[in-house]
């Protein structure tokens, strides 16, 4: 029977997703894992087409159009812009789930509850009460809508189209809470009956509320915390897909969506842990919005030139590069790799110290340095590099800020107090590459920049590194 075959294929594709995620967690198998999960997806789509009775022109047209847009976007995006691209894709997934909810609701109104449930039973073999379908529709719309606008805000913050600073206003949390409560009431009203006008209006209001909520929940979160937010939104889009699965009683949707939902939450928690903060603190504190009151930073920033830096580097026996988001923005990874090679040829020991939350996505720096062909053996995690930091001659901080701010260690008044950092300040000399004198994404002054042994190299990171490379060529 057709339905049996379809469900068997769904089971196989669920297994492929599970293996895919498992294999993505290990370096040797990650690429195969991703392809395996793509095969699973293809299988799920083919199985769904076996239901027949679909409008083939729209199916073919929709898949073709979506594939073209997806392929072009995925191949044209720069490696440095990967975080915002993932955020945008994620938003599309959320909006797709919202539209599934809306389409099913329209079907329900068109057909009437009884014949809709019969159709559903014929398709899935599962009988459910009407209120169950309506609650599932409500939740799909709510979560899908939040995912969509939340991801778009995250995209805009990362792409620099809106300020990365947290946007706060009085009563924000109360408003969010009230809107969330109103949304839940809206879902309740949906179950009032498919023919009722109240239910229809509350459905429309629910769509609007969910879209506004997504924006309001994301704008108070600073750009520096976007990795956690994207991971959470990813989790939400999985849960939205899972809820859509409960509308149409489709097990592959429920299982795959839920897997993504659960793994996204775990990933978010891992990231929060590496910043030594709770997830509540990330989401609700408006981190970095307030100007630092405690612990005025003393001293002054000492600017230096690339010529001076060259002489110090030329004599250095060990050099640690500490990359941050600034390296991604300036696309400086290839120039950095070139400089590292020159230093190595000059006899220095090279290390790249990578903070777990450097950049705008976890592992962001690893991806960029891998793109530039930096040998894996030169990449070190924070815990490996900190013990040897005091023996390092030169630490070069490239567009990193909070992850090297000593205030996290010794200033209890600082908002980032307690966050583990890379102890760049312990190196004998520190060069900080920075675009200007202002505070970074998080809005905090960085005590490292005022340190006795710190020299600032102002300007575009790529230009500065290239100038250093040129010095070596002289």
């Amino acid at each position: 029977m057709n339905a049996v075959l379809i469900n068997l294929l769904y089971i196989i594709s669920s297994i492929l997703f599970i293996f895919g995620i498992k294999m993505l967690g290990s370096a040797d198998t990650a690429r195969r894992g991703n392809r395996l999960s793509a095969v699973g997806m293809l299988m799920a789509v083919v199985a769904t087409l076996l239901y027949l009775g679909l409008d083939w022109w729209m199916v073919a047209g929709g898949i073709a159009l979506g594939s073209i847009i997806g392929i072009v976007a995925a191949y044209r995006v720069q490696m440095t812009a990967m975080p915002e691209m993932v955020a945008l894709f994620n938003g599309f997934g959320g909006l797709a789930s919202l539209l599934v909810g809306a389409a099913e609701y329209i079907k329900l109104r068109d057909n009437g509850m009884d014949s809709y449930l019969k159709l559903l039973e014929a398709q899935s073999g599962v009988t459910v009460p009407g209120w169950f379908v309506l609650v599932a529709i409500g939740l799909t719309i709510l979560i899908g809508g939040i995912t969509f606008t939340g991801s778009v805000v995250a995209y805009a913050k990362l792409a620099g189209q809106i300020s990365g600073k947290p946007t706060l206003f009085a009563g924000q949390k109360l408003i969010n809470l009230l809107m969330m409560a109103a949304s839940l009431v809206g879902i309740g009203l949906l179950t009032a009956g498919v023919d009722s006008e109240v239910a229809f209006i509350s459905g429309v209001v629910l769509v609007i509320l969910s879209l506004v909520l997504g924006v309001l929940m994301t704008i108070p979160i600073g750009g520096g915390d976007m990795p956690v937010v994207i991971s959470l939104l990813n989790s939400l889009s999985g849960i939205a897909a899972s809820m859509a699965g409960f509308i149409i009683l489709n097990n592959v949707l429920v299982v795959a969506g839920c897997l993504v939902g659960a793994s996204g939450i775990i990933l978010s928690l891992i990231m929060c842990k590496s910043m030594n903060r709770t997830i509540g603190n990330v989401l609700f504190s408006g981190f970095g919005a307030t100007v630092q009151a405690a612990g005025e930073v003393k001293g002054e920033m000492k600017a230096s030139s690339t010529e001076d830096a060259y002489y110090v580097l030329e004599a250095a026996q060990s050099v640690v590069f500490i990359p941050g988001y600034g390296m991604a923005v300036a696309q400086a990874q290839h120039a950095v790799k070139e400089l590292a090679e020159l230093l190595e040829a000059n006899g220095a020991e090279i290390r790249f110290a990578i903070h777990p939350v450097a950049g705008r996505m976890p592992g962001h720096m690893n991806v960029l340095l891998a793109e530039a062909d930096v040998p894996y053996e030169q990449l070190f995690e924070m815990d490996q590099v900190n013990p040897v930091m005091s023996t390092v001659d030169v630490a070069i901080v490239i567009g990193a800020n909070d992850v090297v701010n000593p205030a996290a260690l010794n200033d209890p008044g600082s908002p980032i107090y307690g966050m583990p950092i890379i102890n760049a300040h312990e190196a004998k000399t520190v060069y900080c590459l920075k675009r200007g004198k202002g505070t970074g994404f998080s809005g905090l002054e960085n005590a490292l920049f005022f340190g006795e042994n710190t020299r600032m190299l102002y300007g575009d990171a790529k230009a500065t590194v290239s100038a250093l490379v040129a010095e070596f060529g002289k």
Partner: protein
């Protein structure tokens, strides 16, 4: 009303939560980005729901909503898998035994 099949679905849902938690427990941080992007592609599974909205005989409004959903979900799926593959290809390129 026969609720056993529905309970089975809820059963699968609950087990998937635990499975998802277990799968991610030990992942090196340099793989977090591809992992996030790869699981983001999987969340495009909502394409199945979108396709099923394109039943013949439904009203044009329901079908156009479904069509828009198919397009968006396909972008999520296709784009998500390709960017993940591009990222992982860079790790592979060096040909070392690890990463």
């Amino acid at each position: 009303m026969e609720l056993a099949p529905l309970l089975l679905l809820l059963f699968a849902f609950t087990l998937s939560i635990f499975l998802g938690f277990e799968l991610i427990a030990k992942v090196p941080s340099q793989l977090h980005t591809p992992l996030m992007s790869g699981s983001n592609a999987i969340s495009g599974i909502t394409i199945v729901g979108a396709l099923l909205a394109l039943n013949i005989g439904e009203s044009p409004l329901a079908k156009w909503l479904g069509f828009a959903s198919v397009v968006l979900a396909t972008i999520n799926v296709v784009g998500g898998y390709i960017v993940t593959d591009r990222m992982l290809a860079m790790f592979k390129k060096k040909g070392g035994p690890k990463l």
